[in-house]
């Protein structure tokens, strides 16, 4: 693993930590999305409510970090035995999302990109 790849992994991890931070912490979202349906179960009331903008940003950031990335952004490493490897920098993972149903059960979806995750949760790009 090259130093650049290590730094990329550090950045990915740091972003994941940022995602995990409380509302108000800085979150990096390359695209701005907004919610069109309620999918967050409120911790205080247990009621399904619309997500806050910060919660939407956190979901989008998580999907951006963990999902598919352009392969051009990832360096190939040639090893002494002739093998070639690519460190995926934390991306290309299946990300499991859930949304609540009215009957209290959950519907899940394994996604790989921001776009499909957004579609599953009813997020649309905020063009304003």
């Amino acid at each position: 693993m090259t130093r650049q790849r290590v730094l990329a992994a550090i950045a990915a991890f740091a972003m994941a930590i940022a995602v995990a931070a409380p509302v108000g912490a800085a979150a990096v979202a390359p695209k701005k999305f907004k919610a069109t349906r309620a999918f967050v179960v409120d911790k205080q009331t247990g009621v399904v409510r619309m997500p806050t903008p910060a919660e939407v940003d956190a979901v989008v950031t998580t999907l951006t970090v963990l999902g598919q990335q352009p392969s051009e952004s990832l360096a190939q490493t040639t090893h002494d035995n002739g093998a070639v490897s690519v460190d995926l920098a934390g991306g290309f993972s299946g990300v499991l999302l859930a949304r609540p149903n009215e009957d209290g059960s959950w519907e899940t979806r394994c996604v790989f990109t921001v776009e499909e995750g957004a579609a599953f949760l009813g997020l649309v790009e905020d063009v304003q």
């Binding site: 693993m1 290590v6 919660e55 979901v59 499991l96 859930a98 899940t108 394994c110 996604v111």
Partner: protein, 559 residues
């Protein structure tokens, strides 16, 4: 417990985690899985919150239960895969964003490594290690797994998860992606990952053009990614086993006339009304007309009673999505006498796939016609044609989730849904499979036939099963995982000279004689049992009369 290797990434994680040492738990099995716990003390796997044992999970803290569930899922895979190189899963529970349960995937991919079955082809690192026989990335782990510490998973091991999400099933699914159940070609351009196909691509066949993904141009792959129902997995392991897993009866929506729009259509199903195929429907398709009123502003939305009910009766009603619920439209169609309903996407959903349609709890009970959804393109094509006839039902000659040749359909909806397309089995499969895009609540923790087909796909891409005696029967299916496979039957040191045949279950003749000895109460009953057994073998043509005598003679001397 094993000693963990130094890793730059892990050291970074440690720095963030206040320089607290992670731990690693080794899961003993034919393929050794190592769960590398990178959580800091007090959180994630180390959360000390007391927890009552649940569903066979004996942990007494939340952290212990998480680790036990992780280890349980890893052990299921460990028992069914064979590798001389430990598979290291870098794992943590952290407070992920709302509604994000977790993720897992390979940390690296490799090509052109020693012993690679296919050159110039990407492999997930855990599989590459297994095939190479050495750890190609010894300073790093193989699979990255990060799950939500704030989501309320079911942590039991017994699958009795009720309305909660079963963590073990989730882990089995995501680990499979990390082991090789995913592809890397871009679904936005069709281009290979960094110019090369992956091993998953080599088993993806588009039955329209008759090419594998590893044989296509970028444009062909791009088109194939949304060729619903026509992209199949043609690996021999999955195909041979599919009949043992999938049920006969493939749901189908097919337009028969006019020829200009004839064909099989992608569709979504409804959670209300009769199931497709409850009775197969073959009829004309008639566009519904209703009043443009407060219930719905368009005459095509089906939100009010149909004004052309006479034309609809006995036919398939075509209705446009929007304004009112799906069940309202289907109820109005049923009231008009429709034998089936097709709801097509409206302009607001012009680019969307045919939706799954939820009921509203009010109109559902009045829906008597099976109801399907189609895309807007499909709906407009049907609406714009005359003399349209269609079949809506199940084809009992085809298994649900496979094509007519039992090749598994992969998930290839239109429009494409990012990486989920192609890297999962089709949602049409029945029974439900572990590697569909959704973690369905009826999944078991079995990853192979007759319950599932995940293991078979991993086998097709190069994973092998544990087979201690090399008799081609996986150990967990072998009636004797350590068979006597010597070429002749040797009884207590006496070589009978009789060929030692396999009996089709993983046991050999010699195994059977030994097990007969163990089950016999005394020498007399053993000799009698061997006489009976050898008579059966002779009658079956497995041995000759003289060979029967040789076995019986040797057995008589085994006291």
């Amino acid at each position: 417990m094993t000693t963990r290797r130094p890793s730059p990434i892990r050291l970074v994680a440690l720095a963030v985690a206040s320089l607290l040492a992670p731990t690693a738990a080794a899961i003993a099995g034919p393929a050794q899985f190592v769960i590398v716990n990178i959580n800091a003390p007090g959180v994630g796997f180390n959360d000390p919150t007391p927890a009552a044992p649940v569903g066979g999970n004996t942990g007494t803290t939340l952290g212990e239960q998480r680790l036990i569930a992780f280890s349980h899922a890893a052990a299921i895979w460990s028992a069914r895969l064979d590798s001389a190189v430990p598979i290291r899963i870098r794992a943590q529970f952290t407070p992920l964003a709302a509604n994000v349960l977790g993720s897992a995937g390979p940390i690296q991919i490799f090509r052109n490594f020693p012993n690679a079955p296919l050159t110039a082809t990407w492999y997930h690192v855990a599989l590459a290690n297994k095939l190479a026989g050495v750890d190609l990335a010894p300073i790093d782990d193989d699979i990255n797994a990060n799950f939500s510490s704030t989501f309320n998973f079911y942590l039991g091991l017994d699958g009795n998860h009720g309305a909660l999400n079963d963590l073990v099933a989730v882990l089995l699914h995501e680990f499979a992606h990390g082991l090789g159940f995913s592809q890397f070609a871009s679904l936005g351009t069709g281009a290979y990952f960094a110019g090369f196909p992956d091993v998953y691509n080599t088993n993806l066949l588009d039955t329209t053009v008759g090419l594998h993904w590893s044989q296509m141009t970028n444009a062909q792959r791009l088109a194939s990614a949304t060729n619903w129902g026509r992209v199949v997995w043609d690996g021999s392991g999955v195909t041979a086993t599919a009949p043992a897993v999938l049920t006969l009866g493939s749901p189908n929506v097919e337009v028969n006339t006019p020829a200009s729009i004839a064909g099989v259509y992608q569709f979504g199903t409804a959670a209300f009304g009769p199931a497709i195929g409850n009775s197969n429907v073959s009829a004309s398709v008639v566009a519904a007309v209703d009043a443009a009123d407060v219930a719905g502003p368009a005459t095509t939305d089906g939100c009010s009673p149909f004004t052309n009910a006479a034309a609809i009766a006995g036919q398939i009603a075509l209705v446009e999505r929007g304004t009112c619920g799906f069940a309202v439209k289907a109820r109005n169609a049923s009231t008009a006498g429709a034998v089936a309903v097709i709801i097509y996407n409206n302009s607001a959903n012009a680019g969307a796939a045919p939706p799954g349609m939820a009921g509203n709890g009010v109109d559902d009970a009045f829906v008597t016609a099976p109801t399907v959804s189609v895309s807007r393109v499909s709906g407009l094509a049907i609406a714009g044609a005359s003399g349209v006839t269609a079949d809506i039902g199940v084809d009992l000659s085809i298994r649900a989730g496979a094509d007519a040749l039992n090749r598994l359909r992969v998930y290839a909806p239109f429009p494409v849904v990012g990486g989920s397309s192609i890297s999962h089995y089709d949602t049409i499969a029945s029974r439900n499979l572990l590697m569909e895009p959704a973690i369905n609540p009826d999944l078991t923790h079995n990853v192979k036939a007759p319950f599932d087909l995940t293991w078979e796909l991993l086998h097709d891409i190069g994973w092998t099963f544990p087979d201690a005696d090399g008799d081609t029967f996986p150990d967990d299916e072998d009636c004797n995982a350590h068979s006597d496979v010597r070429p002749t039957i040797i009884i207590n040191g006496i070589d009978t000279g009789v060929p030692n045949r396999g009996l089709g279950s993983g046991c050999t003749m010699a195994d059977t004689i030994v097990s007969t000895k163990a089950a016999s109460g005394n020498h007399g009953s053993f000799v009698s049992a061997i006489a009976h057994l050898t008579n059966e073998w002779k009658d079956a043509g497995l041995i000759a009369g003289s060979q029967k005598g040789a076995i019986q003679s040797a057995a008589a001397k085994w006291k």
